[in-house]
Symmetry: C2
Subunit: 123 residues, 2 copies
């Protein structure tokens, strides 16, 4: 089934709480995950919230990665959205699960840009 | 069912093709949609691709909005991710459907950060 984009929604529970409030660590983790997966980083934007929590987005030539953390719940919501065939999206997912120390990760993949009316889904 | 975040995935088909390649228009549309919905814009990052297409992310105090456009398919993938109760997420979705002129929009909502093991889903 052809799709323009692949979008992974990662639910990272039971993370290492200390890193979830560390903007510099998370920025490095998200950028490194993008680079390891073969993506080209174009820009990044991160913000630390009071009293805790970090949001960050990394714009890549192949779409984007984002994360939002709730240290008080040891939880992070991570999205990895790519287009094209060059980015190894699972490499980025594995890297972020590892970097955030999630002991209870789950993942949903959504295909984006599938045009059902214009084509058959099979063949 | 309590969730830390609400995440709308918008599939915008049959958009106005001209605006899908107009970075400045899309930047204004995404920022305006965020502001109209009650979100606080922290940062933004947009990129135009050759020969066509735009990617953009807007970091908000309540999470993020993103878009990726394929003018050749008259298609845009838009995400609106919010936490808390102050942002009227549907207002942002309606605004973007209208601004991009989508005549065949669809929408998926995903609740992010639901901790099933720690609580009952009902009551």
């Amino acid at each position: 089934m052809d799709a323009l984009g692949r979008h992974l929604l990662l639910e990272l529970r039971e993370c290492n709480e200390a890193v979830l409030d560390d903007l510099k660590y998370l920025e490095k983790a998200l950028v490194s995950a993008a680079e390891e997966s073969g993506a080209t980083v174009l820009d990044k934007s991160f913000h630390h919230f009071a009293p805790q929590g970090v949001s960050g987005v990394v714009l890549i030539a192949e779409s984007h990665l984002s994360l939002h953390t709730w240290p008080e719940h040891a939880y992070a919501a991570v999205d990895i959205f790519t287009c094209g065939t060059t980015v190894k999206i699972e490499v980025a997912a594995d890297a972020l699960i590892r970097q955030l120390g999630s002991r209870d990760p789950s993942l949903l993949e959504v295909k984006r840009g599938v045009f059902v009316r214009e084509r058959k889904l099979v063949g």
